[in-house]
Symmetry: none
Subunit: 413 residues, 2 copies
Amino acid sequence: MKAELITIGDELLIGQTVDTNASWIGEQLNQLGIDVNQISSIRDDRQHILDSLKLSITRSQLVILTGGLGPTNDDITKKTLCEYFNSNLILNEAVLEKITAYFQSRNLELLQVNNDQAMLPNNCTVLENSRGTASGMWFEKNEVVFISLPGVPYEMKGIFSDVIIPKLKGEYLASNVLNKTIKTQGIGESFLAELIKDWEQELIEDGLKLAYLPSPGIVKLRITAIGNRENELRNLIEKYVQKLVGLIPNYIYGYDKDKLEQVVGELLAKKNASLSLAESCTGGNLAHMITSVSGSSSYFIGSVVAYSNTIKADLLNVNSELIHQYGAVSKQVVEQMALGANFRFGTDYSIATSGVAGPNGGTEDKPVGTVWIAIAADEKVYSKRLTLGDNRERNILISSLSALNLLRLKLLE
Amino acid sequence: MKAELITIGDELLIGQTVDTNASWIGEQLNQLGIDVNQISSIRDDRQHILDSLKLSITRSQLVILTGGLGPTNDDITKKTLCEYFNSNLILNEAVLEKITAYFQSRNLELLQVNNDQAMLPNNCTVLENSRGTASGMWFEKNEVVFISLPGVPYEMKGIFSDVIIPKLKGEYLASNVLNKTIKTQGIGESFLAELIKDWEQELIEDGLKLAYLPSPGIVKLRITAIGNRENELRNLIEKYVQKLVGLIPNYIYGYDKDKLEQVVGELLAKKNASLSLAESCTGGNLAHMITSVSGSSSYFIGSVVAYSNTIKADLLNVNSELIHQYGAVSKQVVEQMALGANFRFGTDYSIATSGVAGPNGGTEDKPVGTVWIAIAADEKVYSKRLTLGDNRERNILISSLSALNLLRLKLLE
């Protein structure tokens, strides 16, 4: 079954709204084993909607539209669908009752435009919207299913989860699509591709697909399998995942929806261990990533963001002589920072960062992108130098991710 | 000039990646006065790319493609474009030199796949990518312009800003489109709309356009003028900006590309004043925002991220009795945190935050979203309570922005 999505709304085309509906629906369909062929974002325009419907029917067996079902004049999806499906609008008593109750419960006056939302096409299945006033609609024409949903994400997701998923599962689905994403940190896309090329070749010969999904500091690998024998495919994917773990054990930090800061948090919690930070070049971003995880207060104690050298000495007990002799961006200083945080916060583990984030401030010895990371635990300290580029934002992000992955490896030792 | 965007990549269709490239390009084109007609997201599939190109030419004069230019096997955009435009790949010496230098500067080995990225179509204009190894390509066919860009947002945006905007402006655009964006913090979209409705009405009657662009903690207002008399339009926009400043002086923190953390940094630098932080609920994000500004080390001294109460007492001299009596999320404690940071770091200004970021941890007295912010200067302290929602990420972001805006207003007193 091939699907396509048509998201309707001027705001999507001028960059006012990022189309998160399309990616959400794409993920849901993918998990149901339905291939999404194309996503088209178009204007609130009658002819454009009609043209898109006509095209979609040549490519897909399931067409899902979002947007343009609101009560205002620029919302023209419903009347355009009526034209396309030769429908008449008829009053749906059940929907009217719900809309009336919705307005009464909020002490709001029921306007004519809201009343009109209970007028629905006579040849569709009405999909109940328990979170708002715009109903979903399910049409069938020439063996293609067309579903129209409101654009408000909260309402769209409600109808999709409550009504559409059960209906698709019950009546339409045959074969499965399985995905597994493996997440790596610490190796670039092309080096990774080189390292695993035999594995990739074998995987493709076994009928699986592989995609590389790079983002700053991280490369994700997605394996896809399509077919009917779900268990067999799942085992085949698992076999390749295990082989990959054997090939590049230190780079893989998680799978699917895992985040590195979460994985590290879980390892700390499991060990009943605490963490503190001494951040210079990451400037608070490492603390921010760690505390973005709900519940992090059970293992994260705190951080000193030591931007000035005086603070490195005062709060982290770094020897001023060392800063003078080697500079703040050095193995010697970053190691003292980590040990200083460990002592100051009394934690089991500490991470320290010091580097030239850029775009200015580099020297011949220490060009922009030079970063030192240290991990301290049990009065021992281990450090590593990174050589990054000249983009400040990327350098901060990659340094933070690298530091988290170093800690992860320490925690696994 | 009508444009359309084709974003290529399986990850966009299965919901693994939200298509932020399309909305970013849509916004850029909109600001140039170019109508975006359609956005199509399609698979890394030769036939699908060819079909989409054939369709686009019937609707648009400008077609921008992103994605599929990486060095790995699943990136097939370049060879498909070669087929569509009857191109041959030839070695581009300048690009090869840049790729080689890029790898050398990072002490990385140049692989064959990277080398292949210097092989480019003989009948396109190569668009320099100063941030990565995949060049952009500019083709023309039957008076339609086709531009192919890498999918990595950082690289795509770089080429777009550095090369494409100047080229479009210089060679393709007739009438002027002028935009001015006014940035506000501390007021919601609907309250703002109510407050400025007469101003908005007058602006529209004067032939200008207004767009509200809300994001967490910030509402941007974009005024657009289209026409040929550039100076006249510029003055007209300026008149409305000045009127708006009179209406809502405290909410406006900047214009166009201004960032709040940058504006605050400039105010601090101008006063030759220093800043430190004591962060609890913002967990390092405030320090991260401030240090994301290059040169911030001239005014930012450091931060204590005090996630545990012990650290609030040890490093920020907060009286443990107060924490016991009022709780960590209280006016009393956040004010002591700010004063403590001021003393500990010896700075002119300090900001402190303490709150329940959520989604868990709320009580009846202090539900999730309760946040206290304090600003200390000259041994005086001022604090404010915010009541936010239950989304952790949004709460951290809005708290950070609110704290920065409070400091901005203090600095302007």
